[in-house]
Amino acid sequence: MRGLIFCLIFLAGSAHAVIEAYEFKSAQMEASYLKLIDELRCLVCQNQNLSGSNADLARDLRRQTYEMLMQGNSPDQVVQFMVDRYGDFVLYRPRLKSSTLLLWLGPFVLLVLVLAFVIRRMYRMQKLVPPNADALQRARQLLSDSQE
């Protein structure tokens, strides 16, 4: 069963809409290309990356990516080219900078806060006030009565 689920997840991940067959100078360049079109957003469809979208703009941006790599640009230069024109939104993996600090660190801050809260709670529960001597005596009495 688990194997089947893994298979399905894998299949879903590789369901690309890419139709162009590009020739690359090296396997490494092809890997960079595939990585880039996975990480760049198609701005028309917004919830798809360039590799998963059939939109016209996605096709043009794939062509742009391919051409820039073939001209010897590094993947970082391609990303910078896209960000210069379309803004940070084109990146599926937002950059770490002052305006995205909350986005990157927020979940960890929340985790720490929740953990602190839970630990404090657990600690408090352990330190419940022990019953006073009278109450203890009465409880013992009741228990022994019920056993007879």
Binding site: L57, Q64, V83, R85, Y86
Partner: protein, 173 residues
């Protein structure tokens, strides 16, 4: 009130989510505002031997409107682009984006041509340089050649009167 903290957290979340709903995810802020207008030199629609380059308008305030005959919302904003050009404030340059020249010319004949000049960006490369992703888009370029304003989607009566025209008046001075 032992539920004070969870209630406060809940209210904060509702307010934040409500604010999120009021935003338009289609409105992506352009990084090009305040940057130099990307250079281009393209053949003119209807007169392909002549080219038009954006340097030709350096020192002037002008409008670049990205349009296409296949674009439905361009039809919707056509009336307001026409109104803009009728005011004779500035040159309104049409960037005919990924279009067929024959269909584009027919479109202009049928509905009227509001553009001072239209140029053809058939493969969409100039569009990429201008960060175009949703036709129609409208840019305003200042005398210094910097992009001052960008409107994504069709220009409406409201955005024409409240944004485009006031921005133009301010830039013309």
């Amino acid at each position: 009130m032992r539920y004070r903290i969870p209630l406060a957290v809940f209210i904060i979340m509702v307010v934040l989510l409500g604010y999120g709903l009021s935003l338009d995810p289609k409105k992506v802020p352009s990084p090009l505002i305040g940057k130099p207008a990307p250079e281009f030199s393209l053949a003119r629609l209807g007169n392909p031997q002549q080219r038009f380059a954006q340097e030709d308008l350096l020192g002037q305030v002008w409008v670049l409107n990205v349009w296409a005959s296949w674009c439905v919302s361009c039809r919707a904003e056509h009336e307001f682009i026409t109104r803009l050009s009728e005011q004779n404030l500035v040159a309104v340059i049409g960037l005919n984006y990924k279009d067929d020249p024959v269909e584009a010319r027919q479109w202009l004949e049928q509905f009227g041509n509001p553009y001072t000049i239209s140029v053809m960006d058939r493969d969409g490369r100039v569009g990429i340089d201008w960060g175009v992703y949703g036709v129609p888009e409208t840019f305003i370029i200042g005398k210094d050649g910097l992009i001052k304003y960008k409107h994504i989607g069709p220009v409406t009566q409201e955005s024409l009167n409240n944004e485009v025209i006031p921005v133009l008046h301010k830039l013309i001075g």
